[in-house]
Symmetry: D2
Subunit: 367 residues, 4 copies
Amino acid sequence: MSLNTFGHLFRVTTWGESHGPALGATIDGCPPGVPVEPGALQHWLDQRKPGQSKFTTQRQEPDAVKILSGVFDGLSTGTSIQLMIENTDQRSKDYGEIAKAFRPGHADIAYHLKYGLRDYRGGGRSSARETAARVAAGGVARSALATLVPGLKITGYMVQMGARKIDRSRFDAAEIGRNDFWCPDPVMAVEWAEYLDHLRKDAHDSVGAVIEVVASGVPAGLGAPIYGKLDSDLAAAMMSINAVKGVEIGDGMAAAELTGTENADEIRMGPDGPVFLSNHAGGILGGISTGQDVVVRFAVKPTSSILTPRRTINQAGDEIDLITKGRHDPCVGIRAVPVGEAMMACVLLDHLLLDRGQTGGVRGEIG
Amino acid sequence: MSLNTFGHLFRVTTWGESHGPALGATIDGCPPGVPVEPGALQHWLDQRKPGQSKFTTQRQEPDAVKILSGVFDGLSTGTSIQLMIENTDQRSKDYGEIAKAFRPGHADIAYHLKYGLRDYRGGGRSSARETAARVAAGGVARSALATLVPGLKITGYMVQMGARKIDRSRFDAAEIGRNDFWCPDPVMAVEWAEYLDHLRKDAHDSVGAVIEVVASGVPAGLGAPIYGKLDSDLAAAMMSINAVKGVEIGDGMAAAELTGTENADEIRMGPDGPVFLSNHAGGILGGISTGQDVVVRFAVKPTSSILTPRRTINQAGDEIDLITKGRHDPCVGIRAVPVGEAMMACVLLDHLLLDRGQTGGVRGEIG
Amino acid sequence: MSLNTFGHLFRVTTWGESHGPALGATIDGCPPGVPVEPGALQHWLDQRKPGQSKFTTQRQEPDAVKILSGVFDGLSTGTSIQLMIENTDQRSKDYGEIAKAFRPGHADIAYHLKYGLRDYRGGGRSSARETAARVAAGGVARSALATLVPGLKITGYMVQMGARKIDRSRFDAAEIGRNDFWCPDPVMAVEWAEYLDHLRKDAHDSVGAVIEVVASGVPAGLGAPIYGKLDSDLAAAMMSINAVKGVEIGDGMAAAELTGTENADEIRMGPDGPVFLSNHAGGILGGISTGQDVVVRFAVKPTSSILTPRRTINQAGDEIDLITKGRHDPCVGIRAVPVGEAMMACVLLDHLLLDRGQTGGVRGEIG
Amino acid sequence: MSLNTFGHLFRVTTWGESHGPALGATIDGCPPGVPVEPGALQHWLDQRKPGQSKFTTQRQEPDAVKILSGVFDGLSTGTSIQLMIENTDQRSKDYGEIAKAFRPGHADIAYHLKYGLRDYRGGGRSSARETAARVAAGGVARSALATLVPGLKITGYMVQMGARKIDRSRFDAAEIGRNDFWCPDPVMAVEWAEYLDHLRKDAHDSVGAVIEVVASGVPAGLGAPIYGKLDSDLAAAMMSINAVKGVEIGDGMAAAELTGTENADEIRMGPDGPVFLSNHAGGILGGISTGQDVVVRFAVKPTSSILTPRRTINQAGDEIDLITKGRHDPCVGIRAVPVGEAMMACVLLDHLLLDRGQTGGVRGEIG
């Protein structure tokens, strides 16, 4: 991974600013023969696109994706794929204070210090709008995975908003698509709606969230120790998403509280090979997938663009109080769910290709 | 990062197995003119080396490092540096069951499935012994940082063992080097000693831990969005350490519980530039360092090699009960502290060079 | 370099097919603050664009470049730059035999064997049309070089067409832009014109060429031994251009004929440092620039798309005779001149950034 | 990004200086299950090692290779392989003038300018001694190729010394191992011996050479356009060898002299697929192997360390005349033959793995 590219063999370079003419993803290393249709990509982009409920930014973007290269007669050719999404609702406006002031908790000041100049319009490159390109690229990765590993399935959902966590005993996968929060717990979905309405309308505030992404049907053997470990790459991928501050695999931070006897995912022999009796490891041991579900969680901090004034400075060094008007997500974690799924898809495909290159995909035998 | 290498410009490739003749680190991209002395590297290796207290493995290894290349008259020449540590206490023994059985919670089965064969002696490549090479490489990185950024300081310590967390109100940096746990809380250090004695001698068990690593004096501007972000690379680096299951930057997973007003690290103007009134961000915004302390935490799961029997299978597919004899760490998190510091040093140096390449190290002005 | 990307820190990924909707270059790692204007890029693209004389393909393409990202108020921001060139004259036609037959000497059969499918329209990805993206990226590199190394100058020209070589005693840099061949020898330019007219109209044939690219004002110290050597990267860059079969640095292949006494570029001390009395080395010693002119030559084979029938096979395995109609360059080497210049610019900038990262750009002192 | 590393998936990092304690190669990405025996590696190292005839340096080095990691029970495990060669005949001596003076035509001055300091003992890192590490790594690559592509064969030989070229009509592969020059022409071998004796003893001079390396049995489909082309990577690999100034694929620079009709390698259908009637392309079209012999040539300049005085300067800026005593190769091209073979092996294996990763190794069908 370097600068704006991630991946070893399935390499995605994203480009584009929030209020520029377009943004997109350049994909290098997609295997040939993978079906890549605009409609299929659009399906995933529609899940992330803004303005779909009162709980996300009211910016209206169709997020229509154009495939400019690398696909012929509906199939990838093995050459670089260019996916472009034109911006349509980048409001022409006076950016006023924001152009020269630094929102506390936002990348504004960091970009200014590093680069000396920045595209301040809508957050420029640091805007979460960049994640649309990830979702588009993830759509290609999903299609390749569907071709190469038919049974593989990726499911993302929100498990926590603020201090409010789902009750795992109420977990219902079918519920995920039925509410505005990708919430698998129908009771909590209602509670979150009320809470977020309050934050948005009364408190003029935002809130953080925790997302979980699970991949089932992942072949054993993905991951290239020591530094191309599957969990290491997943951690990098998730931490690279805007506003993410923590990443967990399996039991994550809670693994610290376990003893060795508790943490051991005991193994029995099933008809099709090893069967694990628990999954504290989150499907990854020594950086390599074991065939169990790969389980990743990440925490998204609250949006820093809020209507409540905060103390800050501007480029001239003046101390000011700042509120951020405009169209912002009160809980940016919601729209991070399809982004997390996309990153999972990209990392898994990347490691599938990497493993195929290194080992030929042959697996050690048991029994 | 790819396979056994990490870093963009300061690239470290580690090699070696637990019971092979030697292990080491090949460093590519160290700036010229950096003092590299065996004694200085040994200082850091001694912090990680086994057998120093009853709370770590009793394997006796001097971990003496040899500099085989890239250094002339005590200074790095800019060419590749080879650091070698010879193994001396790899016991010649019958590996018995372990050679063909898979310890639950251990990388054994994953390596077998991926590669079809594995060096089972002492865990081979998946042994935490590999981290000695990281610490050696980190020593070079520290020396380069000391040359390039004189005020920069890296401090690691343990903040949690099992469910027992330090009391931050008792935090005393001077305490860290005085106990066997790198514990900054003298009261908790005593409690941990008792608890670990119990686990080790009575319960025949092991336990997890949380490590925190703080870098102060880090220049603003390090990190290369979107996918070479400083936090993304730190997450990958820490997650690549053996047994790590979660990584946090700043408030980490707890950031999910904050509102935007709480999370905003407000900014005032100090005599030397911006001053932040809090550090929920852990010193990184938009993937770029801000000049605040860079704060990383990671959770280490309990050692899977324990004397309590666990159910598992062997290579023949037989269901067995397994206990792991030998010399193992009851809390491998302890020795992960210098490893975490080493990774922090490597990542910071890498990004310092990367930033110097991309921007020339010039910073945007404020005021 | 990997798949469709070249460069270490200044990384260019090109995309697009000859007859697709567009092609372009994704640039990652451009330093911030570099002036990037469409007009400046267009200047270079106009030098390569087709249809400018009777000696190049008659396809009409304005090669108008759009800057979609990474530039704000006319300056690079340090984020990824997307340059797009829309195709306008991709004739809608029946590709007939070409769709399923393999032109001898062309990439057709290699793409088919590797990928199993290919975009056959106009050569798809293997078309020299891809080089437009290189020239656009090279324009950005030139602008960055102009900012960072004011005196640096890159000049490309043709030194040989078929067996006809220029007479170096008649070398006149001012002549290069005055003829259709970038020929610095006015006498030879006339001879080439007659020869190519004959080939084109009477012989229905094509011919090869040799291009030389010289960079003056290159700072000493660029190049990262052993495998990121400046000459190694230049060789890779030039060999990656369509139809190139040989690359030489300085005396090149003729260096084999020299003795050590002849080959030694003797050194004297000038007012501003070392002065070399000759330049057999082409400005590079041990993979590192010395401050002398960097001199690269490469040979371009003749276009394989010709009107003279050649024996070949088609996808069905039938043996056929094939002629290639359509608009093709009788001497594709002509348009390779600006491409070679672009690659030189990209490689030099890349190594300038790399060196700045590794050494800080500080040079060893003499005297 | 990589300084001392080459390769995409089969990655080799070399380390070590001419007069340091040891040198070696760190190999990352070797497939598991490849036989790696010291004896097999030694076979290749013995071909390159110095002091074997009066025509190479009289330094005596056994070049005994030790395998320190990545191999278990004689097979590669898929983890990083460390190969170490200890130096034994690095004479303890006064380096005198060489320590502070710059040999004309040598990397001395370039290293000094770039790094500010250099290991001047025996040329340090810029010594051709580094190529021993390449040959060792090439031995591993050959073993992996033998496992994966049984029929593949790599043959290197010298085709030119000074202006004296072999007569291709006398080409006899069996002759290559029978003389001191890897010369396939027995008549020319005798002529070279006389000429080099004269240069060495009477003229106190050195001379250049051209090496050709041919790989037969290479599968079609290796090479990753546009910038990971097989020919581009071969060019980089060969140009990275010490003293190389030119690289050719197939007809190389002479391709410029051909017309399209001459250059077209016509294709007929044989019993096992396409048969090419000529091989101007050197087995590579569009950067992808076609199944024909892959043919690479490179020119090696004469050794710059000669006993004839040359004008130069020293670090203090004094103008001096310099002769280089010591043990040097009068024609360093001779020992470059096994190095060229090693690089060919590494590049082919690398692309085999890369292709396997990207396409699964499936080939398009003909007929």
